[in-house]
């Protein structure tokens, strides 16, 4: 089965290895699974670091099994999630349970500047590949570990599946109508905040190593990352004894402030009027200047008192318009308003397109899909999406022979004995 890119398409990404970039020359080994580890590696790989991702045929990165699938064939090489999350990386297979597995992994880790892992609390230690063991041989090595709730403590061993982490991290309880059931938050904060903290920590540690010669073991977790961002609410509880609640779409200091139905099926517009000036702009923008002198609406205080009525009137207006048109009318008047985009809207969004948010990859095994750049654009050394995530074991031979210099005969011997399963 081929998963080479199709070079005939103008938008096709190259299958050549990443070249150049701000992090060119940085060597990274990633034992990443699902999102937390792989996304740390992704930030680095898109900026030109050489990232070698280690998997085993006995223990795949679970995101290889997540789809979505653009083609009939469903194999570990055809899912879009893995292809997106692991763009620009080299992929190797190595069986740590093979008698020479740990030794080969160790050679690779000692070649690297940075090791990224979210394999569980003790997996690398169990193979003699933990930070202390590597640092004894190379004090400059940097290791970044991601866990659900940290390496130690009474709850550290509890599995950190994303669906449960939303609840644990306090996000579920804050999502939805105050009187109703907490809603499933969907935005992957517990999966996508920790790798951001991890990437920041790795880059800071590289600077520290440059200045001191010393490496370090960096540890981030899903629980701590979310609790860190929640600081205003944890302070509110400590100082005032107030426990923050979910608030639906309303705000105590703004009205109208909500999501309003538009023309069409399941089409919506968010409108947030956050000042008296914006209220005037809204009334003028939708030709309801009569509301400006209306005793029910003339101050925020009375608008809050009459909010149900106000929301109904706003929705009378939005429901006569396509959400894009209503958005343009309100934005032209200076009112914060945005369409609730769905998957198709995002793929066709003019702003994302104008910024070159993603690069379309036409991949023979996966299909045609977008791989996003990070949300930050460096003016002089921008990120570059060069190729989608590797096929399972695609670069095993390249990495062991060309990077680690294993002789051809030894590589063949190890391969025949199952070391690269």
């Amino acid at each position: 089965m081929s998963s080479e890119s199709n070079p005939s398409k103008a938008s096709t990404a190259s299958s050549e290895p990443a070249g150049g970039g701000a992090l060119e020359g940085l060597k990274v080994v990633e034992f990443g699974r699902s999102l937390v580890g792989p996304v740390m590696g992704r930030f680095l790989a898109l900026h030109g670091a050489t990232v070698v991702k280690v998997e085993s045929r006995r223990s795949l990165d679970v995101s290889r099994l997540m789809g979505p699938y653009g083609k009939e064939e469903r194999t570990p090489d055809t899912g879009g999630t893995f292809a997106n999350l692991n763009a620009n990386k080299f992929g190797i297979t190595l069986d740590l349970k093979h008698e020479r597995g740990p030794e080969l992994a160790r050679r690779l880790m000692l070649w690297s500047d940075v090791v990224i892992e979210n394999m569980g609390l003790t997996t690398l230690d169990d193979f003699g590949l933990g930070y202390a063991s590597l640092a004894a041989e190379n004090p400059g090595i940097i290791m970044a570990s991601g866990t659900a709730q940290g390496h130690t403590g009474p709850h550290a061993h509890h599995p950190g599946w994303a669906v449960f982490m939303f609840a644990l991290c306090g996000i579920s309880e804050l999502t939805g109508d105050p009187a109703g059931t907490p809603q499933y938050p969907t935005g992957l904060y517990p999966d996508l905040l920790p790798p951001r903290f991890g990437a920041i920590a790795i880059l800071a540690a590289l600077d520290y190593r440059r200045r001191t010669g010393r490496g370090q073991h960096l540890r981030v977790s899903q629980f701590e990352s979310c609790a860190y961002v929640m600081a205003p609410q944890t302070l509110d509880y400590q100082v005032n004894g107030v426990v923050a609640q979910r608030t639906g779409n309303r705000s105590s200091w703004a009205a109208p402030h909500g999501v309003y139905r538009c023309r069409g099926e399941d089409r919506w517009l968010a409108i947030n009027v956050t000042s008296e000036e914006q209220w005037r702009c809204l009334c003028q923008g939708i030709d309801r200047t009569d509301w400006l002198g209306d005793a029910r609406f003339e101050t925020l205080h009375v608008r809050k008192q009459n909010e149900d009525e106000l929301d109904r009137l706003i929705e009378d207006w939005t429901s006569q318009h396509a959400c894009e048109d209503a958005m343009r009318i309100l934005q032209a008047a200076g009112v914060p308003a945005g369409r609730l985009s769905d998957g198709r809207d995002l793929s066709e969004d003019p702003q994302l397109a104008a910024r070159g948010h993603s690069r379309v990859v036409d991949h023979s095994a996966v299909g045609r899909f977008s791989v996003e750049s990070p949300a930050f654009r460096l003016s002089r050394t921008p990120a570059s999406v060069d190729r989608p995530g590797p096929r399972l074991g695609e670069h095993t031979e390249h990495v062991f022979r060309d990077i680690l210099g294993l002789p051809e005969s030894e590589f063949a011997d190890l391969e025949s004995k199952g070391a690269f399963e």
């Binding site: 499933y184 914060p336 104008a354 996003e372 654009r377």
Partner: protein, 416 residues
């Protein structure tokens, strides 16, 4: 061994940012950089954000401000005045990083866009965090976090099917990601600067940062032509197949579900056993042969009926009882924590998660979170958030060498 030499000590970041970018400077401060927060003489908008200590509104009482500005030093400076801009460029010459969250075009109008900063200091790295970025058709759009998350595809995905989607009250749900992306960008550019000696400009879009919080939404459309939709308190893990995730318990909510995975089947059997020990009917849930079920072939009604027996068991127990049982019995269940449970979490206590900081303006000592633990350096808040203009004299007089007399005049003229 921990070293008291923090990881980014010796570097200085100038912050001209409120909410969308404010966490970037916070992270730099926690890593030991000298972060100078520069506010207009009347104070920035985040000082007016609730909650307030003791519910007392004041320029130094906002807990929102405290949470995201602890560890920084505070300056005031009027950038609309020529003298203010000169002082700012003096600071730029002595800084390594700048972050701002002005609307696109504002810094150009002030003559303080990246090109001008680079003339003062060619090594400067400058990041701007805005809702939609510096270019493109939405660049001038007025926005809030909720509006940005609408256009990022996040808002559409939350809430009851058929009803209006609903925003989360998780603070900075979108802006945290954008500010952290700015921090990553600054440090990527810094790594490159160590080689080239040159700075650069970084344009951060909160819409893009937020969009990637649900990256599977666009992927599913592009590869499968499927529009993912919100599923209420459940997770829709394949089109039309929802799994209930949030369940009521005696004092709140817990998350629980069975998914097609061996550890999840084990978790379901472990829960069955616990329910039976306590004398509960386990019905269809207890009899299910999980390995043989084809979830893709079951209707939502079937799945709900299958899982129904656990509801009563959960309703009769508190979050704490259920979590204790889940920890003991390897059940995949988690309590829906609030700020209270997080502050009081024994797990966070064991991790040495909190740093104690004295803050008399806000009711005394309070504990601030850490985002990172390191084998080598200490990370975390070292001082409370700055009062308005608290470090003007320290920085302008002692570090920039502005004579006291001139500084007084600048104060009289409202520049600082």
């Amino acid at each position: 061994m921990r070293d008291e030499f923090p990881v980014l000590s010796g570097y200085r970041l100038l912050e001209l940012a409120d909410e969308p970018g404010v966490l970037c400077g916070k992270v730099f401060a926690d890593l030991g950089a000298d972060v100078l927060k520069i506010e207009a003489p009347r104070g920035g908008p985040d000082r007016e954000r609730a909650p307030f200590a003791g519910d007392r509104r004041g320029e130094n009482t906002s807990l929102h401000f405290a949470a995201y500005n602890a560890g920084k030093r505070g300056l005031t400076l009027d950038l609309e005045r020529e003298e203010g801009r000169e002082i700012f460029l003096d600071l730029v010459a002595r800084a390594d990083f700048v972050i701002d969250s002005y609307a696109p075009g504002v810094l150009q109008t002030l003559g303080l866009e990246y090109a001008s900063l680079a003339r003062a200091n060619p090594r400067i790295i400058h990041a701007s965090v805005t809702p939609f970025g510096q270019e493109g058709p939405y660049r001038e759009f007025a926005s809030t976090e909720m509006v940005t998350s609408a256009l990022a595809g996040l808002l559409y995905m939350v809430g009851e099917p058929g009803e209006a989607p609903v925003h989360t009250n998780f603070p900075m749900s979108v802006h945290a990601a954008a500010a952290l992306d700015a921090a990553t960008g600054l440090l990527v550019a810094h790594h490159e600067r160590e080689r080239s000696g040159l700075g650069q400009y970084i344009d951060v879009s909160a819409q893009e940062a937020a969009k990637w919080m649900t990256f599977d939404v666009a992927l599913r459309w592009e590869l499968e032509g499927a529009i993912l939709r919100r599923a209420g308190a459940a997770l829709e893990y394949a089109e039309g197949i929802r799994r209930r995730v949030h369940w009521r318990c005696s004092d709140g909510w817990v998350a629980f579900a069975v998914f097609p995975a061996p550890s999840s089947y084990k978790s379901a059997r472990s829960l069955t056993e616990w329910m039976q020990e306590e004398g509960y009917e386990t019905g269809a849930f207890g009899e299910a042969s999980w390995e043989d079920l084809d979830y893709f072939d079951m209707s939502e009604k079937d799945i709900l009926a299958l899982e129904d027996p656990v509801a009563k068991f959960f309703e009769d127990r508190s979050m704490q009882e259920l979590y204790d049982g889940a920890l003991d019995r390897a059940i995949l269940l988690a309590p829906a924590m609030t700020a209270r449970e997080i502050v009081e979490s024994p797990q966070l206590e064991a991790l040495d998660f909190w740093a104690e900081v004295a803050d008399p303006d806000r009711g005394g000592d309070a504990r601030y979170p850490r985002f990172l633990r390191s084998s080598e350096v200490s990370v975390g808040v070292r001082r409370r958030a700055p009062r308005l203009g608290e470090h003007n004299q320290e920085v302008y007089e002692n570090e920039l060498g502005i004579p006291a007399e001139r500084l007084r005049k600048l104060g009289d003229h409202g520049v600082v």
